[in-house]
């Protein structure tokens, strides 16, 4: 295929139209939708509003809850191990606190449990891949917190509730927004390099659905910068970590408490038994389930293992009917389809445009509304841009950023984005970039309270695995804040709990019970979970694979 500065001729024709309308658009503003208009476009075009893509759970503590088919299949699956496979009399690790998951929430939990007085040597973090391999490290645009003079946690509260379609748990939202300023201050004291003015004032911008400019950033590497710093702090505290050993089942004791987990070393295929007085779950979300076949922005291990494990012990789930599609996943070139184009690109002024170079939606509606509007423009109005592989997308007019904010802004503040496109010969300072919604975030999850405690004794959780904080739709910049606030709170609560807890006899009887429930419901034996990692090997290879070695 002949490419001119990264784009084929067919797409170049549309880029010319974008260039023609640019001067006029630089001065124009597009009207935001009313709540009624939002509902209309969501109902008609958002992938999440199609009833046929979901079903009711037929087993467990959230029976009758409506969830996406892919989630239902995962939850209504048989455990990978049964009671007879695991010797619980031989304990490999005996700790006060087990942290499952090496992303932002787990890292915060470990640090704050240590501050709470737990000896680091009595903590164990276990993670599927490496410490830090997570969605947390991939977040680009920023972290919200109401710390400017014209802002306040209650204003933040209203934005969160409205963005979440008023379905959020008020106590959780209150915790989220109230801890915000202190979290930013703590990060600053740990050495996070926030974007600041010369006098120290944080540079903050809007995100979709915010009423104040409260998005703090570290270029477009915000998630990476935060995680690098807290991981460094975690390592300095000498908290032990076992990498490449995901938990595959939670353990309970004869008193009905959560009492640790069974880990599986994915390199040697050995299992480990961990007995713990308290357990924090920071296992993240479900992007790698590829709900409705969507590509995803999520990391390789985002397979919702935590949901499955907690559910088998009796944890309730909430808001799992709602899935977040990020409006701006890359739609071209093919190599990066589905990867995140940070909302900051729109925050800095880039407008979404159809193939004729015309605006059709305000750039910063809440994510679900913006996504639905993009899908409408492509598949309702038929005004999307087609790529050589037949994918549809809309333009993000990125050259506007330097025109509005000054030469060098894109290269400086969006260096990750600029670098990614440059690797594929596209210069986003000169040419627009093509985007389409991509699977981004698990809005719902395990029920927790404001202290990060689940309804199961001994189990705490924070971050994407939990539900209630964001209602039916999370706003940009609230996931980094979520893992910070609830990872911290879960770590502190678990530490306090572990000081008083005593563990009884370990058991996996809950797994047997769950198996019986599945049999009764007629679930096919072939379904097994947790998934651990998605399967991406070539079809040809898999069709000829034999399991003899």
């Amino acid at each position: 295929m002949n490419l001119i500065k990264g784009y084929p001729e067919s797409m170049r024709e549309s880029i010319e139209k974008v260039e023609k309308t640019r001067e006029k658009r630089l001065k124009e503003k597009y009207q935001q939708m009313s709540l009624e208009e939002r509902d209309e476009v969501l109902n008609k075009y958002h992938p999440d509003y199609k009833p046929e893509v979901k079903r009711k759970l037929s087993v467990g503590s959230s029976k009758e809850e409506i969830v996406p088919m892919e989630v239902a299949d995962l939850i209504e699956s048989y455990p990978l191990v049964s009671e007879k496979d695991i010797d619980l009399t031989s304990i490999d690790y005996d700790v006060d606190l087990l942290i499952i998951g090496g992303g932002g929430a787990g890292t915060m939990a470990g640090i704050w449990a240590t501050y709470e007085g737990i000896d680091p040597q009595n903590i164990l973090m276990t993670t599927k891949l490496r410490h830090g391999d997570s969605n947390s490290i991939m977040a680009q645009g920023g972290i919200q917190a109401a710390d400017k003079a014209n802002d306040s946690p209650d204003i933040h509260y209203l934005d969160v509730i409205g963005g979440g379609h008023f379905a959020n748990e008020p106590e959780l939202v209150e915790a989220l927004v109230s801890d915000g300023p202190a979290i930013i201050k703590w990060f600053e004291s740990k050495g996070v390099m926030f974007d600041k003015q010369k006098d120290g004032t944080m540079i903050t911008i809007h995100g979709g659905g915010t009423s104040r400019k409260r998005m703090h950033s570290a270029k477009d590497y915000t998630g990476m910068e935060l995680l690098r710093v807290i991981r460094d702090e975690f390592i300095n505290l000498s908290i032990p970590v076992i990498e490449f050993s995901p938990a595959i089942e939670l353990l309970m004791d004869d008193k009905g408490q959560i009492a640790g987990a069974v880990l599986f070393n994915i390199e040697t295929h050995q299992y480990y038994v961990v007995r713990a007085k308290a357990t924090v779950m920071g296992t993240g979300g479900f992007g790698r389930l590829h709900i409705q076949g969507f590509p995803t922005t999520n990391h390789y291990g985002a397979t919702a293992d935590g949901l499955v494990m907690a559910y088998r012990c009796g944890a309730r789930l909430r808001d799992m009917d709602s899935v977040q599609y990020h409006p701006t996943g890359a739609a071209f070139p093919e190599q990066i389809v589905g990867l995140l184009i940070t909302e900051k690109v729109r925050g800095l002024g880039a407008q979404p445009l159809n193939r004729d170079g015309n605006m059709f939606v305000h750039p910063l509606e809440p994510r679900d509304v913006e996504s639905a509007a993009f899908i409408k423009e492509c598949y309702g109005a038929g005004l999307g841009v087609e790529t050589p592989t037949g994918m549809q997308g809309v333009w993000l007019d990125s050259p506007m950023i330097n025109m509005l904010k000054g030469e060098g802004t894109t290269e400086r503040e969006l260096s990750a984005m600029y670098r990614m496109f440059k690797r594929f010969d596209i210069n986003m300072v000169e040419d627009p970039i093509l985007v389409f919604p991509t699977l981004h975030y698990q809005n719902g999850g395990v029920v927790i309270d404001a202290n990060g405690a689940t309804e199961l004794k001994g189990l705490f959780a924070g971050g994407e695995v939990t539900g209630g904080v964001h209602g039916k739709n999370r706003l940009m910049g609230n996931s980094l804040l979520d893992y910070s606030v609830f990872g911290r709170r879960a770590g502190i609560s678990a530490a306090k709990y572990s000081k008083k807890a005593s563990v009884g006899e370990l058991t996996l009887s809950h797994v047997t019970r769950y198996r019986k429930e599945l049999e009764k419901a007629g679930v096919p034996e072939s379904r097994k979970s947790p998934m651990i990692l998605p399967e991406y090997r070539g079809r040809n290879v898999l069709s000829r694979a034999i399991d003899i070695f």
């Binding site: 891949l129 003079a149 209650d154 260096s415």
Partner: protein, 228 residues
């Protein structure tokens, strides 16, 4: 036994063994197409985590090049190997006790004084950072420069592999950035003020009012909220 498609195939040598791969795939997807299932060597799959550091050589070229496997397209005749782990030394330190007046970077990582300015680290960096320059800045105690130049580092570890002086550049950069963020960058006064405001209890009283509102009232308030 190629799968049915019109996409031309290219030869890629994964650790020396030849596989036919559809052109246009990333190195990571090519490995998977060939039948490798990642445990190590894949993380975020989007260029942010540094798990997929890769060394490769192109046909008829003696030079070794570097890449992130998730961000690079296959080429015909490419030889590649991934380096998923770096056995590098990371110092443990208490940030509260470090002293920037006496070059803390040199104190924690004295091996930076062994830099011979060969520029191998800069040449290998898949993020195209000026690695040698930030090592030299660290040596001079120029924390701001070391922090800024190293900011986009994904900590893949390739620099440390190539360094003849056995410096762990990416850990030095990490410390430089934390020192800058903590001791050099000016503090945000408004953040401090906001924390004091929360502690005063005023926002909590406002949030209590919001929590006690009926759904209709709060929706109405949301609709009318002024936007900056």
């Amino acid at each position: 036994m190629a799968e049915k498609n019109q996409i031309p195939l290219v030869s890629v040598f994964i650790m020396g063994k030849e596989y036919k791969i559809p052109s246009g795939l990333t190195l990571m997807k090519a490995m998977e197409y060939a039948g490798y299932r990642y445990t190590r060597g894949a993380g975020c799959r989007a260029g942010f985590c540094g798990a997929c550091a890769t060394i490769y050589r192109l046909k008829n070229d003696y030079k070794l090049k570097s890449a992130l496997a998730c961000q690079t397209t296959v080429a015909d005749g490419m030889y590649l190997v991934q380096l998923p782990f770096t056995p590098a030394n990371k110092q443990k330190y208490d940030m509260e006790k470090l002293n920037i007046a006496h070059n803390a970077l040199l104190k924690e990582y004295p091996e930076i004084a062994r830099c011979i300015s060969c520029n191998s680290c800069t040449k290998v960096c898949p993020q195209e950072l000026k690695v040698m320059d930030y090592v030299q800045a660290s040596l001079r105690g120029d924390i701001e420069k070391a922090a800024t130049l190293s900011f986009d580092c994904v900590q893949c570890g390739l620099c440390a592999f190539r360094c003849p002086a056995e410096i762990t550049q990416y850990h030095v950069g990490q410390l430089a950035r934390r020192l800058y963020g903590k001791f050099v960058a000016p503090k945000a006064i408004h953040t401090e003020d906001a924390v004091n405001k929360v502690n005063s209890g005023a926002p909590r009283a406002e949030i209590s009012k919001l929590k006690s509102m009926s759904p209709a009232e709060i929706k109405d308030l949301y609709k009318k909220r002024p936007i900056e």
